[in-house]
Assembly symmetry: none
Homo-oligomer: 410 residues x 2
Amino acid sequence: MDRRKILLLIFDGLGDRPIPELGRQTPLQTARKEHLDWFAANGVNGLLDPIGPGIKPGSDTSHLALFGYDPRSVYTGRGPFEAAGVGIPVKRGDIAFRCNFATVDPSLRVIDRRAGRIREGTKELAAAIDGLVLDHGIRALFRAGTEHRGALVLRGGGLSPLVSDTDPHAEGVPVAAATATAHEGELTARVVNAFTKECYRILSNHSVNVQREKAGLPAANIVVLRGAGIVPEIPPITERFHLRAAGIAGVALIKGICRAVGMDVLDVPGATGGLDTDMVAKATAALEALKSFDLVAVNVKAPDVCGHDGLATEKVRTIERIDAMMATLKQGLGSDVVLAATADHSTPVMLKDHSGDPVPVVIFGEGVRVDDVQRFDELSAAKGGLGRILGRDLIPILIDLAGRSEKYGA
Amino acid sequence: MDRRKILLLIFDGLGDRPIPELGRQTPLQTARKEHLDWFAANGVNGLLDPIGPGIKPGSDTSHLALFGYDPRSVYTGRGPFEAAGVGIPVKRGDIAFRCNFATVDPSLRVIDRRAGRIREGTKELAAAIDGLVLDHGIRALFRAGTEHRGALVLRGGGLSPLVSDTDPHAEGVPVAAATATAHEGELTARVVNAFTKECYRILSNHSVNVQREKAGLPAANIVVLRGAGIVPEIPPITERFHLRAAGIAGVALIKGICRAVGMDVLDVPGATGGLDTDMVAKATAALEALKSFDLVAVNVKAPDVCGHDGLATEKVRTIERIDAMMATLKQGLGSDVVLAATADHSTPVMLKDHSGDPVPVVIFGEGVRVDDVQRFDELSAAKGGLGRILGRDLIPILIDLAGRSEKYGA
């Protein structure tokens, strides 16, 4: 049989638990979603544990698992993936941090940990500190992310992720001095502390901040760091699974995961990662990308946002918007594509947080054993022909259904 | 409870995918098979991933898994199991090859890679080259298999599997000289090349070939080698699981797997490994063997043959013949036997190849939790009381149901 393409749809935080406001149903059980249900009725369904039963996943670890990797061997913290997500071309051995622009007084006491959620001018501020050369020739690569967020990469010999945060995680206290959490981190702690000083020196006089102060806004006059992580060596998906792959996502972290596993990240105008994201545009972009890639992965962040904010009816409405996206896909999908739709984890509205509950998964395409499940939700899926699978098993299953698996043995 | 016996039925390549010719049903869903379904209705059912979800197994790796071994730690290539299958008593450290009798001209150019699919006289030809002593006192053990096939084992100090094939995998080109793929393979490559020369010297004048040439048939005047593998150390099933075990199989590879894990291989007249195999004879032999063994494993190759040949209705008919075998078993089975029926992998008719789809499994016997599954097929099994299990978990489950498990802990 011909080798086929794979479309992997990841609806972030889609899974849920019974919600009193919805008559003790989940948003998936409540929403009108004829197209999602059509895929369930014409595909094979099951439950999926993104990492393992009862394990509450982060979006980073679960996406690694859904891309076929064991996060226990390739996940070294969020920093490296955030850094890749904001566009720093990270290298194995780099040390990466998640960062905030913050506001400090001249004694470096933190007045606002998010610099008034600054939105404008962060690119210019980032450019002013990007490329700094610190102790021992260590280079600092810095990029701004959304709002006050950013990422820092330190590159050079002798670095280690064994350093504490400079982010004090509170206001009214000074920016913390980085300290080594083990002997190997001593050089890195010195470099980080030099970076803090240089940031304040450069940023406090920067024209963006001069303007902000004139306008009565808090200056983004320092960068605080957290979550040091070493950039892991991840065998690219092109080598590991022989797939030329593209990722479509609105949020930096997911873009970073896509880049880290060797996917091309496609920009889709209107794909914001928020509730206002243009899902149909994502579907159209995915169909287009399938012409040139073997695997196209799409992340839709909106259901997770509703879960974190505790918005039950908004989550139902988001699922109905996802259904419009599925209509576009149903219309445009070629017979040379195997489609899978699932979630990276549950974000139950009643928890306002991720949970370890399994999520539904449906696989649709030529050759799939069609079961008698009629609806795409957490309980219907449990009766499907896939049984209960692990996140990291999904890509091997899809590769086999797409006629791309290699025989183990003879 | 008394310790009971285990009967493990492995229907090779039985699993399938929807087939348009069968109204998008699988052969198992289509076949009339009241006895197989009786076992499903009176047993516990589930899905089984022979190696792992989505992994496309070979018959060798999957049988190792179904016999309770992790193929990743005991599988070293097909050669050693083929050699055991044709009856060479292999030892740990031997280097084994799969072989063909072939026809060459005096410059050793290959005219026919299969020597006209020679059927007669191969035992005599094999005897003429079996036991050759080559460089450094290395001994060559050779046995003929079915038709033009055979196996070679090299035994002695300093050998390595790191050598290339002498089989050129094409006609019109010379027999390849073996080369070392790493330094450790140099002695072995010299020995293999000496074996090639000796084969031609001895076989080209052999009376079987003189006769063949008179009859206008291509001479089986050389042996070409492929797939060097070192014989692994496999803890025998008698020690690993405390089971005296017997295997019944028509094909050499499966016989070899059985021998390699320490099973006695029983010869059943009429068990050919082909579509014409006498399945009822196998069932009768299995019932007889259960009197003297703790575990009897039976491989029925026919459904795999239909899958590879793309024969949908023939696969349905084969399943109906398997059902006659199940009738014999149902009739003759004592209450002291736990029976399991499953497949080593799917061989979908539409693929003409193995696939990574899970296969149904049913377990029947005293003490089994009987679920409400009524039919033995890929989708009914998914709703069974076993859920989805791994191939290597089956023997431990059966050992426990047979009252033979040991407590882990207190």
